[in-house]
Amino acid sequence: MSGFAKPLKIALGLAVIAALIIVPMNFNRYGLFILSQWAVMSIAAMGLNLTLGYAGQVSLAQGAFVGIGAYAAAIMTTHGWPLPAAILVAIVLSFAIGWVLGYPALRVQHHYLAFVTLAFSTLAFLLFRNESWLTGGIYGISNIPRPHIFGIATNKPLPFYYVCLGSLAIVSLAVWWLIRSPWGRAFMALRENPLRAQSLGIDTRRYTLMAFAIGSALGGVAGALYAPLTQYIDPVPFNLSLSLDLLLMVIVGGAGFYFGPFLGAMIAVLLPEWLRFAEGYYLMLYAVAVMLLLIWSPTGILGILDRYLAERRTKAASALRAVAKSRLETVQ
């Protein structure tokens, strides 16, 4: 990056953050709800981006982890536990289950792995639905309370939006830290060439399990926020289609790009809402929009940016090559 780009980037980031804090203050309840949903889905998608985008482990179970987090939070908070405790439990639970789900990834990859996780996601749905003693079964759990944070009630949409946004901020920072640490590089090594990675001392087993567990834990966090957001949960929203939606967010945003999930969640959560003017045709339009986007840039929205940056970089490199001295000439 050239010298002026960095301050520019920081300024842009600050502007976006300020906008996310200030602009929604005069949104109506619906707008705030959708924006909160965006924040929650961004968290879940960030988890999947870690598992899939960075570590290359295809998972069709992220929706199930959102479900696990949501049920953990719903059950605990309706029994009087505070939300932070519930989030903690959601994290631990999804981390542990994600870890176990990672084991198949040690044996199989790619589409096979996708189907193991798909099966898991179906099993999770059946458990949510059939184990009524715990989950309320098909009737679900209603009257999920929203928390008091520092003594402030978040029943109203705006305060709860800030809860979601704050959580998103914390998660974003944690993920940023993670992927720029050597762990992030090791995750990418899993994705790019696990064979070579092994022979360089990278404990591919442990990193694979970690990638699954951490990604799943973020799914759990998202779920634990989703429950108080809708204040009612039943098994249906956590079926396979949520996992597929999250996958769509990651790919459309740009798998393996830090900001991909934010944009992907925007496409998946906000775009259908913008298209609602088309009434009965809105989902059709949405489908077409997603296809066009992928036709335009199969590597996702950020793939376009990446291509642009790569071009700039290679231009510089080829200029270097053009002025490089021939060895034959130097001898002459």
Binding site: R29, Q37, I138, S142, T230, Y232, P237
Partner: protein, 358 residues
Amino acid sequence: AFGQAIKLANVAELSGGGATVGTNWKNGIDLAIEEINAKGGVLGRKLEVSHADSQSNPGVARAQVQKALDAEPYVLLGPGYSGSVKVTAPLAAEAGIAQIMGGEAAELTQAGNKFLFRTSFGQQSSMPKVAKYIHDEMKAKTVAVVWVNNDFGRGGRDVIVKELDRLGSKVVADLSTEAGQADFAADVGKIKAANPDAVFVYLNEEESARILKELKRQGVTAPLMGETTLIGQKVIELAGDAANGARGHVGLTTDAPVDLVKAFREKFSKKYNYVPDHNGLKGYLAVYMVKATTEKMGKVDPKKFADTLHGLTIKAADEPGILMDVTFSDTGDIDRQSFLVEVVEGKQVVKQVLPKVK
């Protein structure tokens, strides 16, 4: 000549698992509004409705209802799925807007919500009638119950099992099935093995048609009892011969021996090219409930709407759009005549008219 339009908001299952339900409901609403507006509207004002899709997902339903309420509608229509009703009813109540919905789960109107109204019998009022019929008329000592494992099926199953138990009929097979299930061989095999005196079938229309075929294929002879979803016209069309002999309790049916209902069916199929199921009727009624209530108040007053509708009896003679005389209880439940229907040679035949409770 018209004053400002009266704005209704509809949030329904227009895509996802409940798309058929929601689409029928929406079409019913549109038909009613078209009729009413053609005849001069309500109190001289036109009706307008906005439709929003809940994607059969409670979270989305909540967002859409919020959006609808932010626009301050006169009355909120929908949703149809009980879960979605549960998540949205508190919002409407908080906004003080009446909500006329399609859900049938028993508990919906039992939470003391003063703004929620049904368009059909709740399962708590229909299932006892069915149980009584199975016990008294079919003389069934043993019953097999087949239900679809979603909130609709599960809700009905829970009430009927309790009722049958109370009446002394034994449930010998309690079979859950999946929405969209295609293969009922195993379920029917289990019914056959249990050899019950009667079978209660509580599935969606298409699955009903499939299980009817399979019951016939495996030669199950026990009498079949169900709800509208077992003996509706759609099912008969899809199941053919296999539907013959099936019986059902019908709160609302397009085949009711009522002229107004028949006329409705004509109009609906003419406009949309298919025969509506009971959800089409429910949507249609919901709009006429708005009309009748408003005319009763003599003004468009969202705050007083719910109060007025509680305890209101609407007579078909006064308001033909309501199709049959109906009374609303203080909890928002509905009371109306209903029918016991049997499929005979591909036609619904009314065997019995069950009078209003009160």
